[in-house]
């Protein structure tokens, strides 16, 4: 049987070209007298209509039937099928019913106040006139009936008031005992609200920032990170949402280009700074409206989208710094945005060469360590830098390698600033500042790319990650190290950003279609457990020590290798290309192994002696 693909080409009323209907097939028997080239048109039927005939009524006429296609049955094709015997057909002798679901259109409700207007005044009294109302009132007060009623009601009322004052019937008479929550309640997270991008063309919610006081507002930056994915109709707006009202954003921020990241100033809750797709930095004052108060000049801004902007700790509270994949980290004072106050090029060779620079994707700054900051790069390196260094070469202190992809999130543990979390490629890793070669703890490789992560601000051992398959993972490494404690599918599309509120209870995650979901996590995951700090400290120390030992080991082995390779270079020239047999290889490795073990034991013995001598 030939396969048919039917296409019909409809022409608009305005064009003059004929409307064509054609059937395309892969073979080409000639039918209807048309011989056609292979692979293309099989049957062509052309409808033509003169332009001046448009709009005229149709004149139908009869014509005899035409045979267009006659497909004869081909019994040889039956050999491709097998008759099925017996056939299983379920039959149910009940009423057939069908299930339908209907979702009503979203009903937008608005809250409005009503002005309660006084009513009930008799016709001759104008409620606006003070005199008339006072006169009316005085008249009522002189009424005898009023007098008796009020006396009676008054005594009644007094009785109740005194009753209230005597005993507070709702008072807690027994102090609530401190119930120690040892009950192993299942960790859970509940979606509270979903904030959708109100625009037609959905953009990704790339960055979220909570309002610094009280966290009742959430600023969401929307942009499209796909390469050249920006359509001309895409709106550039980013929104500030009030978490109680998911229907309409509280405020709109209108930048010049899509905002990739957005941060509230922790010192002044009216100021927000945003980094945009075209490399500029802008800052807003929510009291002044939707337009940015000032924007950085294009010549001095970044040349690539600004992926992260963070506020710095300073006396004036107006310093920020930003990072972008063009390899620069720029410092700004928002009062003077015309040029950055400082510039750092992330050149691993420390020469300040922009061509060599590593693209920065994330930044980390902890207010308790104001001189240090870290940058996560596209190449998978974490660069630790010193702000106070004099020369640019000294600014870059060290690098940590271990990731295979861009580092999307980088954050120090709020309780243990020496340890930091990085989220990149398919894993999340925890590092210790002292160990540069590898991370001290890491998660397994997941099926989906991890896109963002952060520590819980209240529990030192809990952190959150979001993945490209739309799941949110809550990890508690004191409880379970191999798997997340809680894995929750937030939405079907990829999640790109995550931010925990300062009380550790609420978190917001942003997805590819611009939906920001507000989740509340169960109290077990946001209250500090009894020995948690101590246990976490112990775990970090243990892992750090393990890594240190491994690092030392590697160094030793490398040294040995190097020395051996130097030796073998001389030996190679003496020996031929004699390949060792398997047995010889085995004995050699065995000997080496024992050598190494003995050496290690001797070293340990020496160390023990040293210790004993010291004590």
């Amino acid at each position: 049987m030939t396969t048919w693909l039917a296409t019909q080409v409809w022409a608009s009323m305005k064009c003059n070209s004929p409307v064509q209907s054609s059937l395309w097939s892969t073979d080409s028997p000639s039918v209807g007298g048309h011989t056609l080239p292979t692979l293309t048109m099989e049957i062509v039927h052309v409808y033509t209509k003169k332009r001046n005939e448009f709009g005229r009524q149709c004149n139908f006429s009869d014509r005899p039937a035409e045979l267009h296609v006659d497909i004869l049955p081909d019994p040889s094709l039956a050999s491709n099928f097998i008759e099925r015997d017996p056939c299983d057909i379920p039959i149910q002798c009940t009423q057939e019913m069908s299930e339908h679901e209907v979702n009503t259109e979203r009903f937008e409700s608005d809250t409005r106040g009503i002005n309660h207007v006084e009513g009930g005044w008799p016709k001759d009294v104008n409620p606006q006139e003070m005199e008339q109302t006072i006169r009316f009132r005085k008249k009522v007060e002189k009424d005898e009936h009023y007098f008796s009623t009020i006396m009676q009601l008054g005594s009644n009322m007094e009785h109740c008031i005194k009753q209230n004052n005597a005993i507070n019937i709702y008072q807690e008479y027994f102090e609530e005992e401190e119930v120690v929550e040892e009950s192993e309640e299942q960790p859970s997270a509940k979606t509270i609200n979903v904030f959708r991008d109100p625009n037609e063309i959905k953009r990704t919610a790339t960055c979220l920032s909570w309002h610094p006081d009280g966290s009742c507002k959430l600023a969401v930056a929307y942009s499209s990170l796909g390469f050249q994915n920006i359509s001309p109709d895409m709106s550039y707006d980013s929104y500030i949402w009030d978490i109680e009202n998911p229907n309409k954003p509280e405020m709109t921020l209108k930048p010049v280009s899509l905002l990739v990241c957005l941060e509230y100033n922790p010192k002044d809750s009216h100021i927000l700074v945003g980094g945009s797709y075209n490399g500029q930095i802008a800052y807003w004052d929510t009291r002044k409206g939707s337009q940015p108060v000032e924007m950085s000049t294009i010549e001095h801004s970044h040349r690539d989208p600004v992926y992260k902007v963070i506020w710095l700790q300073s006396k004036t509270g107006t310093d920020t710094f930003s990072a972008s994949t063009d390899g620069q980290v720029l410092w700004w004072d928002i009062r003077k945005m015309s040029e950055p106050t400082e510039r750092l090029v992330l050149d691993p060779n420390k020469k300040g060469n922009l061509d060599n620079a590593l693209g920065a994707i994330s930044l980390e700054f902890e207010t308790t360590m104001p001189t240090k900051f870290m940058v996560g790069t596209e190449q998978g390196l974490v660069v630790s830098c010193n702000r106070k260094a004099k020369t640019p070469a000294e600014k870059i202190v060290c690098t940590y390698s271990g990731h295979h992809g861009p580092i999307y999130a980088l954050q120090r543990n709020p309780f243990f600033p020496k340890n930091f979390l990085t989220v990149a490629d398919w894993t999340a890793r925890i590092w210790s500042e002292d160990i540069k070669e590898s991370s001290i703890m890491w998660t397994k490789y997941h099926m989906a790319y991890l896109s963002d992560g952060c520590w819980s601000p209240v529990r030192p051992s809990v952190f959150f990650t979001v993945k490209m398959d739309g799941t949110l993972d809550v990890w508690d490494f004191l409880f379970k190290q191999n798997d997340p404690t809680l894995s929750l599918k937030v939405c079907d599309e990829a999640l790109y950003s995550l931010r925990v509120q300062d009380n550790g209870r609420f978190l917001a995650c942003g997805s590819q279609l611009g939906t920001a979901t507000l989740l509340e996590i169960s109290p077990g995951l946001c209250t500090l457990q009894r020995n948690e700090k101590a246990l976490a400290t112990a775990m970090f120390e243990r892992e750090t020590k393990r890594e240190k030992i491994l690092e030392a080991r590697h160094r030793e082995m490398r040294l040995k290798e190097r020395s051996r390779s130097e030796q073998s270079k001389d030996e190679d020239t003496k020996e031929g290309d004699g390949e060792e047999s398997v047995e010889e290889l085995a004995t050699r490795t065995e000997a080496e192994f024992y050598e190494i073990v003995e050496a290690e034991l001797k070293k340990r013995a020496k160390e023990q002696e040293k210790k004993v001598r010291r004590d």
Partner: protein, 96 residues
């Protein structure tokens, strides 16, 4: 007349009392110790509430009638003494 004043003063002097309003059957506040906008709001809302409460009580037992209504909320307690022609409303902060 003076006794009415005295009674109201006594009530006002009780511990925790925040305000007193006397409303007539038409919803017109006759006497009040609160500001005008709150008074008007209370007058309008409470009237409806009392009507509803009264009909509820009478529906259950036609021989019964509403004598007193207390609305306790997180922040305070609203006590309403209804009568045929007037309501006496007192807002009190319960003793903590």
């Amino acid at each position: 007349m003076a006794e009415v004043e005295e009674t109201l003063k006594r009530i006002q002097g009780q511990k925790g009392v925040q305000g007193i309003i006397i409303v007539n059957a038409e919803g017109i506040p006759i006497k009040t110790t609160l500001d005008n906008s709150s008074t008007v709001q209370y007058a309008g809302l409470i009237h409806q509430l009392v009507m509803k409460a009264r009909t509820t009580v009478r529906d259950i037992d036609p021989q019964n009638d509403l004598t007193f209504l207390r609305v306790r909320s997180k922040k305070n307690e609203i006590m309403i003494a209804p009568d045929k022609d007037y309501f006496l409303i007192v807002i009190q902060n319960p003793s903590d």
